[in-house]
């Protein structure tokens, strides 16, 4: 009871640390969430096209212009001069098409007349060129059937009127959970910082040689005292997890987390909290000065957050960095968060990649505890 009371008094003395990292999480996490937000609504914009038609009487040329009018925005503001070149350079015009004289006759006769095109450098220019080529290829295909001009126009227009229907089969709107994933990814830093700092500071206070000697000569079994400290460390980590979960509900929105995805995020972050506790336990065996604890915490928390994609999405990180990040538990935590948002089913096969990441974090926990105990025993032998 006495040891537990001292433990929580020291936690309360360091409450400022917890508040600081929580504020960092809420402020920067929110900024991150908003910068990563996506929209499901968009407005199709047609590319602006300039057509110089030198075959105004031709049926096929007229049909081509009609087709382009349907799929693009035809502008008649430009002449074939420097003003047009500027418009193409600044991408206000996607493509300028020059229909030659006798275009319709030549095309119907199967002579493959050449259409001269000038396009802007961007992808919109390429898209506009694709529209032009689509018409020409279609017309050239039918021209080989020996049809007259009006029959050819009818065939081409019929063929081009067919639209390809694209259906998105995914039932999940992953953008809805992207905010949650961004929050939990950013929480990687705050969880590590709060758990490592507080647990290491408490362990350092109890393990400082004079205090440790006084505890050793007391009437309390030192093994029992260590067990009490460990139990309270776990309770503290659990409370931090719960606290960040509640903060998550506030920041991300209740509806976005009160579902199966939210449950998976919660389980994943719980496993990571256990892992952070084991990291803190290991560090406390090596470091016992408060100044050094802050330094090491910054290296571990900031370092793993940067390397594993907590602050910057993993897809923007260099491959070498991500390869190195595989040796850090944060990588598996963040990777699991990113996988959760794309889950469509919750059967074992679908969940397995997420579960595997959690199992890897659990394996890290076991490894950290084993190393900590080896270090502890070696230190006892030296003493």
């Amino acid at each position: 009871m006495t040891v537990s009371k001292a433990f929580w008094r020291i936690v309360l003395k360091n409450i400022g640390t917890i508040v600081t990292y929580t504020v960092i999480l809420v402020v920067f996490g929110s900024i991150n969430m908003n910068s990563n937000s996506t929209t499901t609504q968009f407005e199709a914009k047609k590319p602006t096209v300039v057509i110089f038609n030198h075959d105004a009487d031709g049926a096929l040329a007229k049909s081509f212009v009609d087709y382009m009018e349907k799929h693009t925005e035809i502008s008649d503001e430009y002449e074939n001069d420097d003003k047009l070149k500027d418009a193409l350079f600044y991408e206000t015009v996607a493509v300028a098409v020059d229909i030659p004289e006798n275009f319709s006759t030549d095309l119907a006769a199967g002579n493959n007349p050449e259409i001269h095109m000038q396009s802007s450098a961007g992808y919109v220019g390429e898209l506009a060129k694709v529209s032009v080529r689509r018409y020409l290829m279609m017309a050239q295909s039918y021209a080989s059937l020996d049809l007259n001009e009006s029959e050819l126009v009818a065939k081409v227009e019929k063929a081009l009127s067919k639209d390809t229907i694209v259906e998105v089969k995914s039932k999940v709107d992953s953008s809805k959970f992207l905010r949650a994933a961004t929050y939990f990814n950013f929480a990687n830093y705050s969880i590590l910082a709060c758990v490592i700092t507080i647990i290491c500071l408490i362990m350092a206070s109890f393990n400082r040689l004079p205090v440790r000697k006084r505890n050793l000569v007391s009437a309390v079994n030192i093994k029992r005292m260590n067990a009490v400290l460990l139990r309270n460390s776990c309770i503290y980590s659990g409370l931090m997890w719960l606290f960040y979960l509640v903060v998550g509900f506030v920041v991300v929105g209740f509806d976005n987390l009160w579902n199966t995805y939210g449950l998976l995020f919660a389980i994943n972050s719980f496993v990571f909290c256990v892992c952070a506790t084991c990291i803190a336990y290991l560090i406390s065996k090596f470091v016992q000065k408060s100044g050094a604890i802050n330094g090491i915490m910054n290296v571990v928390a900031l370092g793993s957050s940067f390397l594993c994609g907590a602050f910057v999405p993993a897809e923007y990180l260099p491959a070498g960095v991500l390869t190195f990040a595989h040796v850090l538990p944060s990588y598996y935590f963040i990777d699991a968060n990113n996988k959760i948002i794309y889950l469509e089913n919750f059967d074992l096969a679908s969940l397995w990649p997420v579960i595997l990441n959690m199992l890897i974090m659990a394996a890290f926990c076991v490894g950290f505890v084993i190393i900590a105990n080896i270090v502890s025993k070696k230190k006892q032998k030296i003493a």
Partner: protein, 312 residues
């Protein structure tokens, strides 16, 4: 007299260096035993061995009639320790620290509150209970260190140089507190290299050097070991060589030293040495400013036994 601690043939080595060498001692119930010796003489190592903080190579240690081991929790419940280093939590207040260390022994909340209040009163920290250790001066910090060690009212108290780097006021306060603990029935083992403290406090003294006991007994018994009986110091502004040689002929004088206007005369034996000296000065018309006599100190005993000063 009942022995609270019995140490027999204790040996503790750090590689080739013998920190404690075949040391045997007994601590009687209700006494203050002083462990006196220079730095590195084995005082703290002996204490740590008794407390089972250190494994020792040879010997047997009995506390409260039972062999002392790391799991002797019954014995540990009756022991209080004040270490040389200040052993407190920086994150807890003065009250919080005393309450924590007292709580390791006393579970009952009300009793503990009373004990903590008593400890605070004993060391005179009533005005600082809400302060944190970093806000305390060195002297107050030492007092807190003592309060943490004795708050649970132990029957046996180890005090390891509790007054190191403490101002005179705090030192007097601490020494008064220790006397009160003895008067309340505690047995105290007091390690120090300050002979003045030992002379004021201790009922019995053990002098250690290089891990061995070189002398033990009461203050008077130890001082009797010294070959000198008395030192008389006279401040004489001017003294001719002839006058100086005259002092050597005085009865029982073993040593005469004159330096910087101060004459030191060491007597082997005898009584009324100070009176004889005053008479001699009067007879020889030697003017003097001040004159005083000193009994031999434990430092003199140590000097005679080891050939070096206690604080070397």
């Amino acid at each position: 007299m009942k022995n609270v601690i019995e140490v027999k043939h204790l040996t503790k080595s750090y590689k080739a260096h013998k920190a404690v060498d075949d040391l045997s001692l007994e601590v009687h119930e209700g006494e203050i035993l002083g462990l006196l010796g220079p730095n590195g003489s084995g005082k703290t190592t002996t204490m740590n061995c008794i407390l089972s903080l250190l494994k020792f190579d040879n010997g047997k240690i009995t506390v409260f009639g039972k062999e002392m081991t790391p799991s002797s929790y019954d014995a540990k419940a009756k022991i209080g320790v004040v270490f040389q280093e200040v052993a407190v939590f920086d994150e807890l207040t003065v009250y919080g620290n005393i309450d924590y260390f007292c709580g390791l022994y006393i579970e009952d909340k009300e009793t503990r509150a009373q004990y903590v209040a008593d400890a605070i009163k004993l060391v005179g920290l009533e005005d600082c209970t809400k302060q944190y250790p970093k806000q305390l001066s060195g002297g107050l910090l030492r007092r807190l260190n003592i309060a943490c060690g004795i708050a649970h009212k132990p029957k046996l108290i180890f005090l390891d140089e509790p007054t190191v780097a403490v101002d005179p006021q705090s030192r007097n306060n601490i020494l008064d507190g220790i006397k009160k603990l003895r008067d309340d029935g505690a047995t105290i083992v007091y390690t120090t290299h300050y002979m003045e403290e030992v002379e004021i406090l201790c009922d019995r003294v053990i002098i250690l050097d290089r891990g061995k006991i070189i002398a033990s007994g009461t203050n008077d018994e130890l001082k009797a070991l010294a070959k000198i009986e008395e030192k008389v110091t006279v401040e004489i502004p001017e003294l001719s060589p002839k006058q100086l040689s005259g002092f050597e002929k005085i009865k029982n004088v073993s040593e005469v030293e004159y330096d910087n206007g101060v004459l030191k005369v060491v007597y082997r034996r005898g009584k009324n040495n100070l009176g004889d000296m005053i008479e001699y000065l009067k007879e020889n018309r030697i003017n003097y400013d001040k004159i005083f006599a000193e009994r031999p100190t434990l430092n003199d005993v140590f000097l005679e036994l080891t050939g070096k000063e206690l604080r070397d």
